[in-house]
Subunit: 437 residues, 2 copies
């Protein structure tokens, strides 16, 4: 799906640290996503060094074609912060000292019992006619300038462009953009038609199957103005349903219901929900706990679960049983099982889960054993072979068999996704069946 409106939005990221490869440009993705979810779309992104000549050249080119120009970086107090001066000069604006910003600077440093350091006061210099956007998390304010579109002369239209300068640090930029700039854009550069958008997140089903299963059932919605997008990540597929039609709300709601009916088994969340987040929520609701036993994933599952605040109440603990010895010693896997079937086997996965369940106070035990590679495979059990076991107090033990042939990092990601999804489904199932205990 391409730009929903004919609005050109250009993003110019300014910073030598970005160009030297010291820092990842997270601004682009974050702003693109934030805008996209409101129906706007960045049409071009550029990154350059913080040199006046480069900044001038790119901004000059951007204001000649774009409706909205966003810049990040170069608003600080040091000698390589040139964005403000360069843009003011380019648009023929004089800088004046803004007393509101100056007062904020004064009280900021007073609260730290420090004098305003030399040079910091340039952050109170504002181009004539600019709107000042307060920076609640730092010292450099954002600035908005309206500029005459170059095409105004030829078309006779009096179209104004919007030039927005944002500070570089993400913890300053993000709240400023979301809470102040985006509402400003919606007011001063509204979309012709607002966008309604919902994202449904799935796991355990491939992109092409998702696509083919939804194609027919969504036909009518598509005729009514629905747009569908798919985004595949290792082991997961996001489904984006959106519309800018007159009945956008209704069309998207209808499509969502259809997708949820067809793919209910695979949907674990909406928008930016994480699989592990959903599991911690489900466990918290029922007051049940989980224990993990990981071989080839080496702690990845436990790490992901404990990334979620609140995990400490529902994660009993975990074992990384990387050696045969630890499998037997920590959770009581029978050495004969290891001998007869191997450490990577359905039998071992089952005994790992059942052993951990017995050993712990948890209601669910999730186990993984497999061959991550790059070495260790055989013709019978090739690299990528994985067994995922789940034991619980109320349901019988299950083991999934998967072949995940990927590099080591992707292997861990996909295998932990599969394991977490099995855990999620088992928790749900156990809520609907009487306990056997």
């Amino acid at each position: 799906m391409h730009s929903p409106v004919n609005m050109k939005i250009e993003l110019i990221n300014i910073g030598t640290e970005l160009m030297a490869g010291h820092v990842l440009n997270t601004h682009h993705m974050w702003m693109a996503k934030t805008l996209f979810e409101s129906g706007y779309r960045i049409t071009r992104q550029i990154c350059i060094d913080d040199e006046a000549k480069e900044v001038r050249k790119e901004v000059e080119s951007a204001v000649s074609t774009a409706d909205i120009v966003l810049t990040t970086g170069g608003l600080g107090p040091t000698s390589d912060d040139l964005t403000r001066e360069t843009i003011a000069e380019l648009l023929g604006k004089t800088l004046h000292r803004d007393e509101t910003v100056m007062n904020r600077l004064r009280s900021f440093f007073e609260s730290k019992r420090r004098e305003i350091p030399t040079g910091v006061d340039v952050q109170a210099d504002v181009p004539d006619g600019a709107e000042v956007i307060i920076n609640y998390f730092g010292t450099a304010p954002g600035l908005i300038l309206r500029f005459d579109r170059i095409d105004s002369a030829t078309t006779g239209e009096n179209r104004k462009g919007l030039l927005v300068m944002l500070p570089g640090p993400p913890r300053e930029l993000r709240p400023m953009f979301k809470d102040q700039i985006l509402p400003y854009m919606k007011q001063h550069s509204p979309l012709e038609k607002p966008l309604v958008c919902v994202i449904l997140r799935t796991t355990g089903i491939g992109e092409s199957i998702v696509e083919s299963r939804l194609k027919e059932p969504l036909k009518e919605c598509i005729n009514d103005g629905l747009e569908i997008g798919f985004c595949a990540q290792p082991g997961m597929v996001d489904i984006r349903l959106q519309s800018q039609s007159g009945d956008a709300e209704q069309v998207v709601a209808m499509a969502r219901k259809i997708v949820e009916d067809i793919l209910s088994k695979y949907i674990y969340g909406v928008e930016s929900d994480l699989l592990e987040e959903r599991i911690i929520q489900d466990l918290t609701k029922t007051g049940k706990r989980v224990v993990t036993v990981e071989s080839c994933t080496g702690g990845r599952i436990s790490d992901r679960l404990t990334n979620i605040p609140g995990a400490s109440a529902v994660v009993w603990g975990g074992f990384t049983t990387y050696s045969n010895e630890s499998k037997s010693k920590c959770i009581g896997v029978n050495p004969q099982t290891l001998e007869q079937f191997g450490a990577v086997s359905s039998q071992t996965a089952a005994e790992m889960a059942e052993g951990a369940l017995k050993q712990s106070g948890a209601e669910f035990a999730l186990s993984v054993t497999g061959i991550a590679g790059p070495s260790g495979g055989s013709s019978e059990k090739p690299i990528g072979t994985v067994f995922i076991g789940i034991a619980s107090k109320s349901l019988s033990t299950r083991v999934l068999h998967k072949i995940n042939v990927f590099d080591r990092e992707t292997f861990k990601t996909i295998t932990s996704n599969q394991a977490l999804d099995l855990l999620r489904k088992t928790i749900r199932k156990s809520n609907h069946e009487p306990s056997s205990g």
Copy 2:
């Protein structure tokens, strides 16, 4: 430090998934860093949708000013992969079917016992005069075209530019760029003066202290043409020593020796070495094993260690003892210790490490207990409080106390860095002292 030579290198990232904010543009940082370490520098980066018109416009502008133009993405088999065709058309080249690429495609799908899917064969279409770069990790080859610099006509010089098309997936792009494109660039577009560069990686010491301790001792090297750069990541500082002077080799070697002498305790590796990689190497050399016991890091340390191939021989296993119950049950922490001193205490950290050492067959046991936040702190033990314990067969148990006040993710990263560094130092120390066992 700015561009060491007057070579203009432009990077054009092509992909709708990048522009919609679905995917982070990691290409830019990775390629910038890789080039930077060889003395090259990306001077401008652009990201656009995979639309022919946009691609054409940006490539046309880039070849009119740059010496080297790199594109990523749009080389696949689907209808939105337009890079190859668009660039061929722009430079007036016809596409022909390349038999070598075609044969690679055939054997790729034969090995999977599949027919070549419809449309995939377009990846064997190569612009006349292009050099084909084999893709060892996927199907779309890289392509190199030489183009006439637009300034050739005016200056009379016969300068050729280099246009390189790279596939989008990082696991295909990275090895291709490092092993094939970079050597090609060095041969066909060499730097006026080659750069000698070494990166020393440190942990456990802050950036400003590193800087102040090296300032005086490196003065003479700096006079002889040494350049120093620092790059700080959570809990780590990289020191970059480089020179393009006549005696670059000697100057950098001398500086390296000085830095190694002063900071020997803190240096864990060179170039892109990982702390966990170094530990697996050190353990493998001595045939010793480690067991981990993690509370607040929740498996992160175990996950990082087992990311390294070969870990299975030296990682005995690990415990995520997230609950008090698991601390006592799995590794025998005395419930009275938990009662009296708390789960987050020096005493508990020591008992965790010693318990795991006893419980396992490992020579080293590393423990972590702390308060990650966002809740759980007290005035006595604020959020961020961490105790890291290490027990071993030959040295007495040690516990470090740290205060790491960060968001949950950074907390886990920094705390696991500190713990891994303590493990690294203890392994080294134990190699130099007689065993007490």
